[in-house]
Each structure stands twice: as C-alpha cells, then as structure tokens.
C-alpha cells in the first residue's frame, strides 16, 4: 500500500510501476492500492482523471484523512510512504520527503514487492509426520 499526500509526477511514476508489477503477479494473488491522505475537495475528481489518463489495471486509488489511519504512524513530513506487507504483517517500508521517490527508488520498491509476492510459504507438516504418544 502506498500512502501519499499529493498527486505528484513522482507518485504517478511509482503507481504506474507498481500497477504493472501487480498485473504481472496476478498468479501470486498480489494486490496494491494508494491512499491519498488529503482533505482536498477536488482530489476525487483529479484521481478519476488520472485513472482515465493512465488506465491503471490493478491498483486501486483511495482517499483517507490527512493524519492517515490509526496505528500506521504515517509521518507528517513523509510525502510518500510505501508499506509492503504479507499475510497482514509488515515486511518492509519506504518513506520519501518532498522530492518523492526517484526512478532508482521505484525500481527498488518494485523489486521488493516482486520478491515478497513470489516468496513461497513453507509447507505445513503433514498429520502422519507428527509423533504419537
């Protein structure tokens, strides 16, 4: 999930790359979404126009309050915060200030996303392998 404060060009670049990766990772059941932390009345319309222009395939765009959801500790000075999680546990986070994520940051995020999504779970032990008393 990506928390952001404004629809900047650097955010758009990140969203496009993550959307493309999410489409590739369909078999891994990966998902992605953006949470715009804003009270701008015009933002919903701006998001719809961006979606029409970019034609995002998988990523979902949402809006929440400026402070962000409770318990997520989104810093006020962070323009973009990326939270990678698997089975509802945080695996890695990235945070960016005013300049937002640059190309090398986007590549690093997508790489981590792919690695995390493609990691296979350890198989559970079979019943007959357990020792009986």
């Amino acid at each position: 999930m990506i928390f952001a404060r404004d629809l900047s060009p650097s955010l758009t670049g990140l969203v496009k790359s993550v959307d493309a990766a999410t489409s590739d990772l369909k078999a891994a059941k990966a998902g992605s979404f953006v949470v715009m932390l804003s009270d701008d009345d015009q933002l919903e319309e701006r998001i719809k126009k961006l979606d029409e222009a970019e034609k995002f395939q998988k990523i979902v765009l949402t809006i929440d309050n400026v402070a962000g959801p409770k318990g997520f500790a989104i810093a006020k000075e962070a323009e973009v915060t990326v939270v990678l999680y698997r089975k509802k546990k945080v695996v890695k986070t990235f945070a960016f200030g005013k300049t937002g994520p640059q190309e090398k940051d986007v590549q690093a995020i997508v790489k981590e996303f792919r690695t995390m999504a493609e990691t296979k779970d350890e198989p559970k032990p079979k019943e007959q392998d357990r020792k009986k008393p």
């Binding site: 999930m1 919903e44 765009l61 949402t62 962070a78 990326v82 509802k88 695996v91 945070a95």
Partner: protein, 53 residues
C-alpha cells in the same frame, strides 16, 4: 587553511548530513496491519468506503 575554505567545508558537511537524513514513516516491520476504510475512488468498490487490507 583559510577561513573561507573552512566555512565551505563546514557548509558541505551540514548539507550532506541534511541530505542523508532518513524519514521514518509507516508501521514497524513485523507489526500487523489493521483494517481501515478509505473512500475507494476506483476499483470494484468505487464510491464506497471499503477496506483493502
């Protein structure tokens, strides 16, 4: 070393320290992510407040 050079060196160090400062944001690694319900603008639940976690 002249005063000007010392000042320039000091400014360079301060600038480098500022650039290297990392922003900490988001939950800690290993922590559970909890449900929340943002307004979905796009996607299957467009127009509704729905949890995507």
């Amino acid at each position: 070393m002249s005063r000007v050079m010392l000042a320039a060196l000091w400014l360079g160090c301060v600038a480098a320290a500022g650039a290297a400062e990392e922003i900490k944001s988001g939950p800690e690694v290993g922590k559970s992510v909890s449900a929340f319900h943002p307004l979905n603008v796009t996607g299957a639940a467009a127009g509704e407040k729905a949890c995507l976690v």
